[in-house]
C-alpha cells in the first residue's frame, strides 16, 4: 500500500517544490523525480504482477472530507473565472455540479463506511506503468521544450513554475484515478485532471487558448455532472455505501449497475473526446506539445476509456453497451476520415487519437472477453506510439517553425534521427507487425463472434483503410530525399534525445514483449472477470515476432548497398533536376517543382464529416438516455 500512496503523494510534494524553484534546480528535480516515479511504477509491476486483485483498506472519512473541501474550493475558482471571462455555460455547469455534490455529501452519505477504497489489479498496474514511465518521460521532455518555447514566443509570460506544478499534480491525480476503488474518490481525481487540463490548455493566455480551455472545461464538466448524478443514484439505491466500491458495483449485476454505468460511461465519453464532444480535443492542440502528449493522448483521455473498460462487464451484451460501442465505432470511422483532410500535424495526431479512443470504446462497449483483451492492448500500444509522435512533432516544430505536414518534406535529410523516430512511431500506429495492427486483427476476430459484430467489422475495415492512407502519405512526405537541404537537428537538447530514444525503444520493445504482457498481465485480469480468457495463438505470436525481427534486420541490408550504386537524378520528363527541381516554364521563367499530398477535402472535409458525426452520435446518446430513463422509472 505504501507504493500506491507514494505514487499518489510524491508527485504532489514535487509539484509544490516546482512552485518554488527556478530553472537549473528545476531541471535536476524533474529528472530525479521522473526516475523515482518510473522506478516506483516498475517496482509496483514486479511486486504485484503475479498477484490477483489486492484491496487496501484506507479509511474513508478524513480523506473524503478533504476531497470535498478541495472540490468546493475548485468550484469557486472556476465560478470566478467563468464569470470573469463571461463563459456562462461553464458557470451554469459548475453550479449544477457543485450543487449536486453538496447534496450528495451533505445529505446522502453521512452514515457510510466503505472500506476497500484503494486497490491494485493487473489493469491498474498497466495504467500505472503508462503514467509512471511515459508520463515521467514527457515531463523530462517538457523541460527542454518549454525553454525553447519561451525563447520563441517572447510574448507569452513565463509561467513555468505553474506549468510544472500542474504537470505533477496531474500525474498524482492520474495515479489516484487508477488506484481508487471508491467511486467518489475516482470522481475527485477525475475532476482534478479536468482542472489540470483547463489550466494547461489556457497556458498561453491568448484569446484562442482561453476559449479552447473553457470549451474543454465545459465538456468535461458535462461529464462531471453525469458522474455526480451517478453517485447520487448509487447513494439512493444503496444507503450502506457498499456500491460505491467499484468492484462491488460491477459485480452487482445489470439491474443495479446499469444506470450508474451508463452515466459514468457518458462522463468517460466526454473525457475521451468521442463524438459529438471531439471539438475540445482538437482545440486543445493550441497547448504546448508536452501537454498534448501527456494529457491529450497518452494519459488523461485514457482515463476516460479506462473507466469505460472497467464497466465493460456491466455493458456486455446490453443495448446500452451496444449504443456506446456504436458511438465509439462511428467516432473511429469519421475521425479517421477527417484526419485525411488535415495538413496540420497536431490536428492529424488529435484526430487519430480520437479515432483510436473510439475504437477502444467500441471494443469495451460490446464487452466480450476477447474484446476486452483488445481494448487493453490498444490502450498500451496507442499510449506509447502516440506520445512518441507528439514529442517528435514538437521537436520538429521547434526547429523548422511549422506544424504543417507539407513543410516536413525531406525531413529525413534535414533531421535524420527525428525522422527515423517518427517513421517508427507511425509504423507503430498502422503497420504490421506492430501493436496497433495486432489489435486491429484481434478486434476483427473478436467482433465476428459478438452479436451484430458485422457492423463493427465493416466500420473497422473502412476506418482502418483511412488510417493507412493518412499515415502513409505523411510517412512518404518525411522520407522523400530532397537534395541540398541543411541538417538542423544538432541543436536539440540532450534530455530530449534521451526521452525520444527511450520512447522509440519502447515502441519496438513492447511489440516484442507483448506475448509476455498478454500472458502475465492481461489474460489473468480477464480471467478474473469473465472466467475465460484468450490471446493470440502460439503460432501467430511466433509469426509476429519473426516479422518484427525481419523488419529490424532490413535496415541493416542498407549497409550492403552503401557503395556500388550509381546515383542519378529523379526523372522529371527530361528536365535537369540537379539541386532544386526547377524547369523553365512559359515566357522563360524558371518554375520550381512543388509536390503535395492529396487531402480530399471534398470527401473528408472537417466541417462536413464532423457535422455528420455530431448528428449521429447525439442521436445515439439520446436513445441511450431514453432507455436509461425507462430503466430508472
Amino acid at each position: 500500500m505504501n507504493d500506491l500512496l507514494f505514487l499518489i503523494g510524491f508527485p504532489v510534494i514535487i509539484a509544490l517544490l516546482m512552485l518554488l524553484v527556478k530553472d537549473k534546480i528545476r531541471n535536476y528535480i524533474v529528472i530525479i523525480s521522473a526516475l523515482a516515479l518510473g522506478i516506483a511504477s516498475l517496482y509496483l509491476l514486479i511486486t504485484y504482477f503475479n498477484k490477483n486483485t489486492v484491496f487496501f483498506d484506507i479509511s474513508f472519512e478524513p480523506a473524503t472530507n478533504i476531497m470535498f473541501i478541495i472540490e468546493i474550493l475548485l468550484a469557486v475558482y472556476i465560478l470566478y473565472l467563468g464569470i470573469k471571462f463571461k463563459k456562462y455555460f461553464t458557470v451554469a455547469l459548475i453550479l449544477l455540479q457543485a450543487g449536486l455534490l453538496v447534496f450528495l455529501e451533505m445529505g446522502l452519505i453521512s452514515g457510510i463506511h466503505p472500506v476497500n477504497n484503494l486497490f491494485l489489479d493487473q489493469f491498474s498496474i498497466i495504467m500505472a506503468m503508462i503514467i509512471g514511465v511515459i508520463g515521467s518521460l514527457i515531463c523530462v521532455y517538457a523541460l527542454g521544450y518549454m525553454e525553447t518555447y519561451h525563447t520563441r514566443h517572447t510574448d507569452i509570460k513565463d509561467r513555468r513554475k505553474l506549468f510544472f506544478f500542474i504537470l505533477f499534480i496531474f500525474l498524482s491525480a492520474m495515479f489516484g484515478v487508477v488506484f481508487s476503488n471508491n467511486l467518489m474518490w475516482i470522481f475527485f481525481f477525475w475532476e482534478i485532471t479536468t482542472i489540470c487540463s483547463f489550466v494547461l490548455i489556457g497556458y498561453s493566455r491568448t484569446p484562442e487558448a482561453t476559449n479552447n480551455a473553457f470549451l474543454a472545461l465545459s465538456m468535461n464538466l458535462l461529464g462531471g455532472v453525469a458522474f455526480t448524478a451517478a453517485l447520487i443514484y448509487i447513494a439512493i439505491m444503496d444507503p450502506s455505501g457498499r456500491l460505491f466500491e467499484l468492484d462491488s458495483l460491477i459485480s452487482s449485476g445489470y439491474a443495479l449497475a446499469i444506470v450508474p454505468a451508463v452515466l459514468i460511461c457518458f462522463a468517460g465519453i466526454t473525457k475521451a473526446a468521442l463524438m459529438p464532444f471531439s471539438s475540445w480535443l482538437v482545440g486543445a492542440m493550441v497547448a504546448p506539445t508536452p501537454v498534448s502528449a501527456l494529457l491529450h493522448s497518452s494519459t488523461m483521455v485514457k482515463a476516460g476509456v479506462y473507466i469505460i473498460v472497467r464497466f465493460a462487464p456491466v455493458l456486455a451484451l446490453t443495448t446500452e453497451g451496444f449504443i456506446i460501442a456504436l458511438v465509439g465505432a462511428i467516432t473511429f470511422l469519421l475521425a479517421s476520415g477527417i484526419a485525411i483532410s488535415q495538413s496540420n500535424a497536431k490536428k492529424v495526431l488529435a484526430y487519430s487519437t480520437i479515432a483510436n479512443l473510439g475504437l477502444i470504446v467500441a471494443c469495451a462497449g460490446v464487452g466480450t472477453y476477447n474484446l476486452m483483451w483488445v481494448a487493453i492492448l490498444l490502450i498500451i500500444f496507442h499510449a506509447i506510439a502516440k506520445s512518441l509522435l507528439f514529442l517528435c512533432v514538437g521537436t520538429v516544430e521547434n526547429r523548422i517553425g511549422s506544424k504543417n505536414i507539407e513543410d516536413m518534406g525531406g525531413l529525413i535529410v534535414r533531421m535524420p534521427k527525428i525522422a527515423m523516430m517518427m517513421f517508427i512511431g507511425m509504423a507503430g500506429m498502422f503497420l504490421a507487425p506492430f501493436g496497433m495492427v495486432i489489435s486491429k486483427w484481434a478486434a476483427i476476430e473478436a467482433f465476428i463472434t459478438a452479436p451484430y459484430g458485422l457492423i463493427f467489422i465493416a466500420i473497422l475495415a473502412f476506418g482502418g483503410s483511412f488510417t493507412v492512407f493518412y499515415w502513409s502519405k505523411w510517412m512518404g512526405k518525411i522520407i522523400s530525399v530532397m537534395r541540398h537541404q541543411e541538417v538542423v537537428e544538432d541543436t536539440v537538447k540532450k534530455e530530449k534525445w534521451a526521452v525520444l530514444y527511450i520512447l522509440t525503444a519502447l515502441v519496438v520493445g513492447v511489440c516484442l514483449a507483448f506475448p509476455l504482457i498478454s500472458t502475465y498481465l492481461i489474460e489473468p485480469f480477464i480471467m478474473n472477470i469473465y472466467g475465460v480468457t484468450t490471446g493470440l495463438s502460439q503460432a501467430n505470436f511466433a509469426i509476429m515476432i519473426m516479422m518484427i525481427c525481419l523488419l529490424l534486420i532490413m535496415p541493416f541490408s542498407m549497409l550492403f548497398y552503401r557503395t556500388g550504386s550509381k546515383h542519378v537524378s529523379p526523372y522529371m520528363g527530361g528536365r535537369t533536376t540537379e539541386g532544386e527541381m526547377k524547369f523553365s516554364g512559359t515566357f522563360g521563367t524558371m518554375r520550381e517543382l512543388s509536390l503535395s499530398n492529396y487531402y480530399m477535402e471534398k470527401y473528408f472535409g472537417e466541417d462536413k464529416v464532423f457535422y455528420i458525426g455530431t448528428l449521429l452520435c447525439w442521436g445515439l446518446l439520446l436513445i441511450a438516455g431514453i432507455i436509461l430513463a425507462g430503466v430508472i422509472l
Binding site: 476476430e445 492512407f469 502519405k473 516479422m547
Partner: protein
Amino acid sequence: MNAEPVISLVNAVLFVLIAPLVGGLIAGIDRKVTARMQGRVGPPVLQPFYDVGKLFEKENMVVTVTQHFYVLSYLVFMVVAGALFFSGGDMLLVIFAFTLSHIFLVLGAYASYSPYSHIGAERELIQIIAYEPMIIFTAVGMYMVTQSFNVSAIVNSGIPIILYLPGVFIGYLIVLTIKLRKSPFDLSTSHHAHQEIVKGVTTDFSGSNLGKIEIAHWYEYVFLLGVVYLFFGFNPVLAVAAIIIAYFLEILIDNTISRVKWQLTLRSAWLIAGTLGIVNLGVLYYLKGVIMP
C-alpha cells in the same frame, strides 16, 4: 498432429521456390493473349523471364540508396505474406502482411521525390485503401462459412463457399482488377505503355530493383489467384477452371475498358464491392442465425 507443421513448412518452401515460375508464366500468357486480342502475334510466353533476366544485367542505378531497402522489403514481405497463405495460416494476418509489403513499395516511390513517382505513390495508396475493405470482407465471409480464419481449414472444409458468398466473390473480382493493375484501374502503374504519369510508382526504379518488383508481382499473382481458388476449394478441377476463367475475364476487361480517374476507382471499390460484400455477409448472418456466444 505432428505432420501438420511439416506440411505447412513444405508448402511454404514450395511456394517460395515455385511461385515466381508460375507467376511469370501467367504474366507471359497474359501478354500473349492480350496481343492476340489486339490482332498481333505477341511476345513468346517466356518473355517475362527474359525481361527480368535483362533487368538484372543492367547497371546498379538509384536515385537514393534507401530505394534498395524499400524494394527489398517489398519483395521479402510479399513472399512472407504468400508463404503464410500457402502454409495455411491466418488469413487476416496474410492480408496485413500484404498491405505492409505494398506500403514499402509506396514509400520507395515517395523516397525519390520525382513528380511522377509521387503521384504514382498517392494513387497506389488510393488503390490500397480501395481494395482493403473488400478483402477483409472476403476473409470475414470465409470465416462465417467455415468458422475459421485459417486457410488450411478453409481449403479442407469441403464446403462450396461460392454458393454462400456470391456477392463477396463478385466484389473480390472487382478489386482483383485493381490489384492486378488492369484497366480500368491501372492508375498507379501498368505493364503497358503508361505515359500519363510515365511509369507511376515504378518510375525511378531501374535494373535489379525493377527486377525485384517484377518478381514480387509474380508472387502476388499466385497469391491472388490462390484466393479465387479458396472460393471453389471443394472441387479442385472446378477451382482451376474458375481461376482460368476469372483471369481471362480480367484480360478481356483490361483490353476493352479505358482507365478511370481515382475518384471512380474509390467509388466502385467501396460502393459496389463494399455493398455487395456487406449485403452478402448480412444476408448470410441473418440466414445462418449465426454465431451467438
